[in-house]
């Protein structure tokens, strides 16, 4: 079951990464000199990375704790 959860998590992250690439294309192509597009994109990437990292760490912790509980 844990493997299924991790696979599901990675599929979600890959879909999210595709969306991020679409956003990156827009920011790269349509942003102006001096506008806030790139800063907003940096904030978006930073926040997304935190969300993904926290979720991943929690999944790992849960996995480790459940293994300990079984043994």
């Amino acid at each position: 079951m844990t493997a299924v959860v991790f696979i599901l998590f990675f599929i979600i992250v890959i879909i999210y990464a595709i969306f991020t690439m679409v956003l990156f294309y827009h920011v790269g192509r349509y942003s102006f000199i001096g506008d806030i597009s790139k800063r907003v994109f940096a904030f978006y990437v930073g926040t997304s990375a935190i969300i993904i990292a926290v979720a991943f760490v929690l999944l790992i912790l849960n996995h480790i704790l459940s293994l300990n509980a079984i043994s």
Partner: protein, 287 residues
């Protein structure tokens, strides 16, 4: 003497800008247009906190009965929720931020972005303008000086209706002056707004007689600057220099190049000398 590490390289303000095309207005929609989305996104951000606060005991019991799998599902659902929220936020932001009104000495360009996959660009020559008007309605719009600009065209050309533009009275006045000059046969490189405010970049009015932002292209033309700089370009070599350039270009949103210090010093000296002899006037009166 210490010289700057970088110099600005003039870039076209938009994709098909002519070499000597001066830009008077680059206006995005005002933030008032995004307030509704921002409130919804903020409210959605609070939803999980409310759910946890209200149903704390019930959720705790469900997790205790479900065990490790229940924790996994909770983590996945939370992560997906926040990711979807980011997707919604960014999609609405792109739809808001990439709408533009550009006014140059030759034409008016409207860029209409709807979501990620719909971008329309309309262009209108000043000669085709029949009538310009602006409307400000509502408390927020009046308070923040936001309004809609309507440009009616002659013949079969599409009418322009640009929503939620900052300082509509300035935009109206500039377009009105330029259209009138175009109708009376003034050449595009001689057109100039007649009021004290000659431009609007972002939401910053540009006053007559002050130094104009580089993006307005009031200098010697884009290619002249580029040629001058490209001959004296110094590429970043060290890791620190490469990082600096990446940081300034992407995080600070400024297009910069490394400069040859000696060349810059010589250029500054010549410019100073020319100013002293009265050969170079202010940027605004150059054209």
């Amino acid at each position: 003497m210490r010289y700057p590490r970088f110099a600005y390289i003039p870039q076209p303000a938009f994709v098909n800008q002519q070499d000597d095309e001066r830009v008077f207005i680059i206006a995005r929609r005002h933030f008032v247009d995004f307030i509704g989305y921002a409130i919804i996104i903020f409210a959605l951000l609070l939803v999980p906190i409310l759910i946890v606060a209200i149903g704390y005991q019930g959720i705790g019991q469900a997790i205790a009965t479900g065990g490790a799998i229940a924790y996994d599902i909770l983590i996945l659902v939370s992560a997906v929720y926040f990711m979807l929220l980011m997707v919604v936020a960014m999609t609405s932001w792109v739809g808001y931020y990439y709408n533009l009104l550009i006014v140059t000495d030759e034409r008016i360009i409207e860029v209409a972005q709807k979501g990620f996959f719909s971008r329309e660009m309309y262009e209108l020559a000043f000669e085709q303008i029949e009538d310009v008007s602006y409307h400000t309605k509502g408390f927020l719009n009046t308070f923040f000086e936001v309004g809609d600009i309507e440009i009616q065209t002659a013949g079969t050309a599409r009418n322009f209706y640009v929503r939620r533009i900052p300082y509509p009275q300035i935009v109206f006045r500039i377009i009105h002056d330029l259209a009138r000059q175009a109708r009376s046969g003034v050449k595009d490189n001689e057109r100039m707004p007649e009021s004290e405010i000659i431009g609007l970049i972002g939401s910053q009015p540009v006053l007559r007689g002050t130094k104009t932002p580089a993006i307005m292209n009031f200098g010697a033309g884009l290619s002249a600057h580029r040629d001058e700089y490209s001959q004296n370009l110094k590429r970043p070599k060290t890791l620190r220099e490469k990082f600096d350039r990446w940081w300034w270009a992407h995080m600070k949103g400024e297009q910069l190049i490394y400069v040859n210090y000696e060349f810059e010093a010589e250029r500054a000296r010549k410019l100073k000398e020319a100013r002293r002899q009265g050969q170079v006037s202010s940027d605004v009166s150059k054209k």
